[in-house]
Symmetry: C2
Subunit: 606 residues, 2 copies
């Protein structure tokens, strides 16, 4: 069996040597994020992830939550309740939140590796705090003082968990179709409030037994709201209405109607939530102003999409580790040169697959951490220009972190099964779970197609490509540095990276030329463009890492094995992934004419 070990070396290398914990640690309010503190936190998180969460991962998969129709209650997998108690007691839930609400106020650059570890060890478990954190952010950003006072400390502590209720059967990617209604109401118990009626589906951790209360954030329409996206409001709907003393009071008119039978993340209960099912309506309180719910969701969406992107990194790492463990032990076939029976890790194609896994785990990680640091800078840097510039990079890269990293994670998890051969198809081996779990990450919180449309439409065409140009500009010094490198493996990165940049430039020209007269032809290239952007961004991060590694190899006491592996991994990525750039460009600029050529009802010819 393979157990998870957090890739602490790579995490620390990225934080300290590549991305700049020093700069982030010097931001106002981040003074506690010293290298020593960061090390200590990462090491504790690694321990908790490996010792507590990792062993429960398979338990959650095999013995998922059960739903009791009589009480509308959900019993989570064995061990999850106790693990969640420890998780909260250790303070992991509040890592990134303001001390004002009981959090530790750590920058994203430090909390991000912690999140990655939780997700590598137990994705299904990690979704509970992830959703809570999303709900907290909504309240911090737009909640009234009363909402903040009532809910935030409990939620930051994790005593109460949160959910996000967006999807309805007819409203998935298109939230303009939301129908859940919120009627204004006033009574002695709750004062002015709303009563909600409707059904929400795919509600992650919508019902469970690990916390004493569940705070649902719900998108709904007031009776007089305008149609479409401008008529949707955001409400807080607690499972138990808080009493004056702040403890959970009477049960609200909201309940889980069932839980889903899913391909993966079995340990995470995905509920159908029924609001106002008893007829009285679920008591809810508006967040911010009416009709601005979708706008608030979009503010939070960056954070949520970033965190799902991290799931791609996390599953890639976990699947990679399992594949290395198996292939190191499985004796099969003879070495091509030495002739003796060897572990399959010695066979070139197995190694190629392991390197595809390793290089993509590291490339997606490096990009995610770089964006995490930019989020810190965008929020806290004293210089407005620096803040804006960082925010531009964040906005540009969020759909890439989400879309590209999860596509990579999915591919890597599938390769993980392949490395195991027939054993990979047997559930007891564990490799298949990662693939099943990974399959949702390219879908929820906006599919890859939605991310690509966001990148192309909002982040590129709408702002005239400024952020993209700024980023491409920032790659020029990298190109020069690669040209000046001495290590031939580092120099070798230059060609494939330049090829990727050129492909991006060609694609940009195409988009600008077609966007107005043929939007369908433009958006047909959206996903290939997102993947291309990811390859170049990931390749650039690995190139930066390789340059640092080259420099550090010259220092005394350098960890030569690790640093040389960094360079080899960057080169592998350049030669096996970045080399796809030309093909992606060709598909974008030359592949649109056939997309809509066949009539809808002629696609299947039977």
């Amino acid at each position: 069996m393979s157990s998870y070990s957090a890739p602490l070396k790579d995490m620390k290398f990225l934080l300290k040597d590549v991305i700049g914990l020093a700069e982030v640690g010097s931001l106002p309010g981040c003074e506690d994020a010293t290298p020593d503190t960061a090390d200590a936190i990462l090491e504790e998180a690694a321990k908790f992830s490996s010792e507590v969460l990792d062993p429960l991962n398979v338990v959650g998969d095999r013995e998922g939550p059960s739903y009791d129709a009589a009480t509308s209650s959900v019993k989570t997998s064995p061990g999850f309740k106790e693990a969640y108690r420890q998780f909260c007691e250790n303070g992991w839930n509040g890592l990134g939140f303001e001390p004002e609400w009981g959090g530790q106020g750590l920058p994203k650059l430090v909390s991000t590796p912690v999140l990655e570890m939780l997700k590598s060890a137990n994705l299904a478990f990690s979704l509970c705090p992830m959703l809570t954190q999303g709900a907290i952010e909504a309240l911090v950003l737009r909640g009234s003082e009363q909402l903040k006072t009532t809910y935030l400390r409990k939620m930051v502590a994790g005593t109460w968990t949160g959910t996000m209720n967006l999807t309805e059967p007819q409203a998935g990617s298109d939230l303009s179709l939301v129908r859940t209604r919120a009627e204004r109401h006033t009574d002695a118990e709750n004062g002015a409030h709303y009563r909600l009626f409707g059904q929400k589906i795919f509600i992650t951790w919508g019902e469970h037994d690990v916390a004493e209360n569940i705070i649902h954030l719900v998108l709904a329409r007031t009776p007089d709201a305008p149609e479409g996206v401008k008529g949707i409001s955001l409400f807080v709907v607690p499972k138990f209405l808080p009493k004056a003393d702040g403890t959970p009071g009477r049960r609200n008119d909201v309940r889980a109607g069932s839980i889903e039978h899913k391909l993966g993340i079995h340990g995470s209960p995905t509920a159908v939530m029924l609001y106002g099912d008893k007829g009285e309506g679920a008591v809810g309180f508006v967040v911010g102003e009416e009709n601005r719910g979708l706008e608030y969701m979009f503010i939070m969406m960056n954070a949520a999409r970033f965190v799902v992107g991290l799931e791609g990194v996390a599953l890639a790492e976990r699947a990679f580790q399992r594949a290395v463990h198996y292939s190191s032990e499985r004796l099969q076939g003879r070495d091509l040169v030495e002739g003796r029976t060897v572990p399959i890790i010695r066979h070139p194609d197995i190694r190629r697959m392991l390197m595809l896994m390793k290089s993509q785990a590291e490339a997606t990680r490096a990009l995610a951490y770089d964006v995490a640091a930019a989020m810190d800078i965008a929020r806290l840097h004293p210089d407005e220009t620096r803040r804006k510039q960082a925010q531009g990079y964040v906005d540009l890269m969020i759909p890439v972190v989400k879309g590209w990293s999860t596509e990579a994670g999915l591919q890597v998890a599938s390769l993980g099964v392949q490395v195991h051969g027939g054993m990979g198809f047997i559930e007891e081996t564990g490799a298949a779970q990662h693939l099943r779990d990974a399959r949702i990450t390219t879908i929820y919180e906006g599919t890859t197609g939605i991310q690509a449309n966001d990148l192309l439409g909002r982040k590129l065409l709408r702002d005239g490509g400024g952020a993209m140009r700024a980023w491409l500009e920032s790659l020029k010094p990298l190109d020069s540095a690669l040209a000046g490198a001495k290590n031939p493996d580092v120099v070798a990165l230059r060609g494939p990276l330049a090829g990727g940049v050129q492909a991006l430039i060609d694609a940009l020209k195409y988009f600008v030329a077609t966007a107005k007269q043929d939007p369908r032809a433009t958006y047909a290239g959206a996903v290939p463009f997102l993947m291309l952007t990811g390859h170049v961004a990931g390749g650039a991060m690995l190139a930066r890492s390789a340059l640092v590694a080259e420099r550090k190899l010259g220092e005394s006491g350098a960890d030569a094995d690790f640093l040389k592996a960094k360079i080899a991994t960057a080169r592998f990525f350049a030669e096996h992934i970045l080399t796809q750039s030309g093909g992606l460009r060709d598909a974008i600029v030359g592949g649109a004419s056939t997309i809509m050529a066949i009539a809808d009802d002629k696609l299947i010819a039977v």
Copy 2:
């Protein structure tokens, strides 16, 4: 819900217009394979697949076989037994076998579409006759007259099923490690025979209740056999020893020890088989000569690999149809041009995914059928040169049909989930089953890596690349024909196809140059080379189809929608799949240096 409809138009178009049923039908012994007969058979098979097998597909998935430890017996999924009875009664099991044994003697070009339909409708079910057919081929090819007389009629009728017992816990891809032993024995009941002792794993349909007897073909070693691959023999081991009157007699000392809990193909019982578990040994009869078992397996392997390749086609088609059905009905988001809410099939990225699915289903199908026709020619053509040439093409393309088509099927099944969005992750939708089922096809009957090594090592380097050169030569007239086409969509195929051919030539030069001095660097490119070969072969088949379609569009009464779709699909494939050729070439010729650069125990750095 989506139900399966056999793509009869595409199948008939390929048989009659592209590949040449006329030539195959004129081969000696194939006189019955007239266009009308072929049509009738395909239509009947389509009906049986849709009406009987397709509805049971989800049943098998949800309610898989159960194992009873007390009796070592396996109860198959509800409905499977009755469906199998109908399958046999309709004569589907013997379609391709000699009339001498009760078969219908149809050429592969006609039986292949039938097999595809069975597999699209119910992959798990189809594995039972597939394994039987493999066992039949072994007996036909190398069985003694007595073995043939005892077993063949029953197996061709399907009354008795067959299995292939190769794998042991320590012997998967590497069969030289087989340990099951076969001791010579003589007694009054069985005459001279063998007693087998050992454990076999991953035995598809190793135990079940759909037929009255199960005939296991088993690889084992005699006590004095040489070590390694040259000491393995092939034995027939029936579950019930046939009595003199040909009916099943006493139970042999072989039983199922358990069945596996798998990611997919739940309806197919995968057994651990225990030979000689009672101590007396399983009575077995040698097939052909001792120590030549692996050689016999290799003869059959082409057929088995071809059929698994067809599973890639079949699942791609099934996943595609389901995705089209869903995306035609699911209203979500607004049309980019018209602005109104539309079914998602109108969104460019959904269409791009559907076209990736459609074009790969059609490209893999076209190649598989072309190879099927070549198998018929190689076996039956009166002219030896023609037979040899056809066999060269078959040998070259078998690993491509197996490896490339199943990789395509896996990707397509995953895209099928993606098209469904969140619903794709819910098991009840059915899209996830295709992904889970598809995940084994790149593994069993030789992983994609094994296929690629076969292509590169046996089919290319060992024979000096003759078959590959002959095939590339055969593409030159195709290039000229494309150049002479009038339809601009057909002309557009030429560039990407030529680019693919050039990439293959570059790769060949690289392999010839490195094979001797650096086999690891050579074999690091094996899988990218297999994929490149598949893209070019599939692209060439679609180009041939497009040329035929262009010609037929000029005929009166032409099915214009179908023919235009053919051309658009070929162009899509050229512009979205064949454009990957340059990247694959670059990974092959420039990507080997890092494959083994990191020490085994330094791959994970924690």
